[in-house]
């Protein structure tokens, strides 16, 4: 659980946050008056509920989404509320049901397909890419595919090599797809609602370990019309010495790293990407132009990862502003092991982010930035 609470002024749609109030609480938790808390699980559930209520074309399909109430309880209560015509339990046949859902989207329904984890999306990846992502282009706009593919992505705890891969980089490479990665409950609500309303195929990468985490949510976030823009990152914490870009669970790690760095006199700016595709290059670059240093953080494999793309983007657009080489923190270049100590070594830890940020900061000589 996070050891601190931060309260942000609602910054709907704006990538640069307004002034933030931070309450550092050692060990306990302060509730700002009136702030409600919501778990990511409840945030996702409420988003699904509201969108299904608002649009009768929205339906949910996946394994155990109905009677089991969801493998991770994300779809809890929805079968009772909307019935078996709209919350559909499927056999364990990803290629089949993903194809069926895409076909339904061709016919103008709005499916939300749940993959129990995104590892299983590989069984259906042809439908995600060739049947969904490319259709609008190949048909010159005749066949649009308003579908959402959602589920937990990346490492969980002790689930081993076949159940721990992060698919952000693979899906993020494909034109025609939108790829979102929420962190907080506000992200979960706003981005899932935006994804369901979006007319294009959206891959929605959740994180199993975040489902149970609580975040404060404002009244605006709780409103049924709340939506976050697709393609806009959020500056979770402003800083001036080094930019840390990350997404999903690593946002929490980066924020903790920023606290540690603060004590050592390094002010880190933490960017929650929220959107892997489209990538908010403008926010990333404008931050790097301010701080002159960049650390990219992700859980997935390093080669051809999200960080590699961000590094390339910054080198292309903001090279003169960089005072140090870009640092990349990523999952280890190995399959995920089971033993707890090895697993810990295979995934980024807070100390890795701190170390990389320090390297980025101590590399340069103390030159004043020239105009």
């Amino acid at each position: 659980m996070l050891g601190f609470i931060r309260q942000t002024v609602c910054n709907r749609g704006v990538s640069v946050s307004k002034s933030q109030l931070r309450f550092l609480v050692p060990g306990g938790r302060n509730y700002a008056s009136g702030a409600k808390e919501m778990t990511v699980r409840d945030a996702l559930n409420s988003a699904l509920d509201e969108e299904m209520s608002a649009d009768s074309k929205v339906f949910i399909m996946g394994e155990e989404v109905g009677e089991y109430q969801g493998a991770y309880k994300i779809t809890k209560g929805l079968l009772d509320k909307y019935g078996p015509d709209r919350v559909i339990d499927t056999p364990i046949t990803e290629a089949g049901f993903t194809g069926i859902a895409v076909g339904a989207a061709y016919h103008s329904l709005k499916p939300v397909v749940e993959f129990m984890t995104f590892n299983f999306s590989m069984q259906a990846i042809d439908h995600i890419i060739n049947s969904a992502a490319k259709s609008n282009y190949m048909s010159a706009g005749q066949i649009s595919v308003p579908i959402v593919f959602r589920g937990p992505n990346g490492a969980a705890a002790g689930v081993g090599a076949q159940h721990s891969q992060c698919y952000a980089a693979w899906f993020g490479a494909c034109p025609g797809l939108k790829v979102l990665a929420p962190y907080s409950s506000e992200d979960a609500r706003g981005l899932l609602k935006a994804a369901i309303r979006d007319p294009d195929p959206v891959v929605f990468l959740e994180n199993e370990l975040l489902y149970g985490e609580s975040f404060p949510v404002s009244a605006e976030v709780l409103d049924s019309s709340f939506c976050l823009p697709i393609g806009k990152a959020k500056i979770e914490r402003e800083g001036k010495d080094v930019t840390i870009t990350t997404f999903s669970k690593m946002v929490g790690f980066a924020l903790k790293a920023a606290e540690i760095l603060e004590k050592e006199g390094i002010s880190a700016e933490v960017i929650n990407l929220r959107s892997i595709r489209p990538l908010d290059r403008a926010t990333i670059n404008s931050s790097v132009r301010k701080t002159n240093r960049l650390v990219t953080v992700e859980e997935g494999f390093p080669q051809h990862g999200v960080g590699a793309e961000i590094c390339a983007s910054v080198v292309e657009e903001s090279f003169e502003y960089l005072d140090a080489p870009v640092e990349r923190i990523a999952g280890a270049d190995v399959c995920m092991p089971y033993a707890a100590n090895l697993e810990r070594l295979a995934v980024p830890q807070i100390e890795d982010i701190v170390r990389a940020a320090k390297r980025a900061c101590y590399r340069s000589t103390s030159m004043a930035a020239t105009g």
Partner: protein
């Protein structure tokens, strides 16, 4: 002579109707919608269901439409062959000549609100669903007036407004997609069905059985149509399938084996299938058909089949010849009139090609259109991102 008397009687009765009365006798016959029955070439073979009768109701008008449309399709595919050889069509080109009866018979049994989805051998289905020759040829040649504005190519023709959902390049993928169309039709409480066409090659795909299981579980109005032309690319059916009785492969799903070279049999089977699917859920139709061309234009089609086999089928079972025989047997038109129609189709197709050739290639800015429906003003880049950038609307 009894037939002639019946015709004259119909003609007399029709003088007072609104049919255009010309000096060509056959014109009034060819708009004659008086029903009569024709027997299919062979009876239907069924699996887990009662087969429909082999007496098919048709009319002079319908038979003439069949002839017109199949002649057009045949000409289109042969012309595409020439265009490919003169390098005006690039990449893949999978031709349908020989299989026209499936497209025509199916269309006669359904409406444009029913859906059809197929794989890459899609030019003729596009036509039968209402697409035009100019759109087809322009798309094949990659021009902006193509049905997919030149961005799809031979394998990606679509016509959503008349229920044609493509045009798919990945073998087998169109079957779950087609079952998804049926899912949507049921969800919307429409009284329509979806036909998912696939070949004998695709019939062994796992995703087909996954989706068929769900279609049966959920009673979806889906009809799987195996266009069995007996060769999956270069592999004969007996080398690919332990059981090439594709109409039985659904196990608990009923099936029908149909002479796919007989447009009337196809029509009867599809009519039966639609009624069945709306009441009882999915079934499989296996169309016994044949393609004269190889798998695609890069395949001569004669390394894995004998020329005797190909010419034998052309002689015995050609779908256009079959309809010609029925038309002649019922005095609906003369041989010369039918030949004139075929000549006319050659001209129509040539004119369409000429018109399609006039269509320009798409504007370079089209590289970046239709990536998304809603692009949020995001930037996309060309090969050299410092040189070519575009904003996605």
């Amino acid at each position: 002579m009894a037939a002639l008397t019946r015709r004259s009687y119909n003609l007399v009765n029709r003088i007072s109707t609104t049919h255009a009365y010309t000096s060509h006798l056959h014109r009034s016959f060819s708009t004659d919608t008086t029903p009569f029955t024709v027997e299919t070439s062979i009876p239907f073979t069924s699996h887990n269901c009662e087969p429909p009768s082999r007496s098919v109701e048709t009319s002079a008008a319908e038979l003439m439409t069949f002839f017109h449309d199949m002649a057009t399709m045949r000409r289109m595919e042969i012309a595409a062959d020439s265009l490919y050889k003169s390098k005006l069509i690039r990449g893949f080109c999978h031709l349908y000549d020989g299989q026209e009866a499936v497209a025509i018979g199916m269309e006669a049994a359904i409406t444009k609100k029913d859906s059809i989805i197929t794989a890459y051998r899609d030019h003729c289905i596009f036509l039968s669903r209402g697409g035009t020759l100019v759109e087809a040829f322009a798309e094949l040649m990659g021009r902006k007036d193509g049905c997919s504005k030149g961005k799809g190519g031979s394998m990606h023709f679509y016509k959503k407004d008349s229920g044609f959902y493509g045009g798919h390049g990945i073998v087998g993928a169109q079957v779950p997609l087609g079952i998804g169309l049926a899912f949507a039709q049921k969800y919307n409480k429409e009284d329509h069905v979806s036909f998912a066409l696939y070949g004998d090659g695709a019939a062994n795909q796992g995703q087909l059985f996954e989706a068929l299981n769900m279609a049966a579980l959920w009673d979806l109005p889906a009809i799987l149509v195996c266009e069995n032309n007996h060769y999956g690319m270069g592999t004969a059916e007996w080398r690919a399938a332990k059981s090439p009785a594709y109409y039985k492969r659904g196990d608990y799903v009923p099936g029908l084996k149909v002479d796919g070279m007989d447009a009337l049999a196809v029509k009867q089977a599809c009519k039966f299938a639609k009624e069945h699917a709306l009441k009882n859920g999915p079934l499989i139709l296996e169309m016994d058909t044949y393609r004269y061309h190889g798998h695609s234009m890069s395949d001569p089609g004669s390394t894995y089949r004998t020329r005797d086999e190909i010419s034998g089928i052309r002689q015995e079972r050609d779908p256009i010849e079959r309809i010609r025989k029925v038309i002649l047997a019922h005095d609906i038109a003369t041989e010369k009139e039918l030949k004139d129609i075929e000549k006319e189709k050659r001209k129509v197709v040539d004119e369409a090609i000429a018109k399609a050739k006039e269509s320009p290639m798409p504007d370079p800015s089209e590289l970046f259109t239709n990536v998304y429906v809603k692009g949020f003003g995001v930037e996309a880049c060309g090969a050299d991102r410092k040189e070519v950038k575009a904003v996605l609307p």
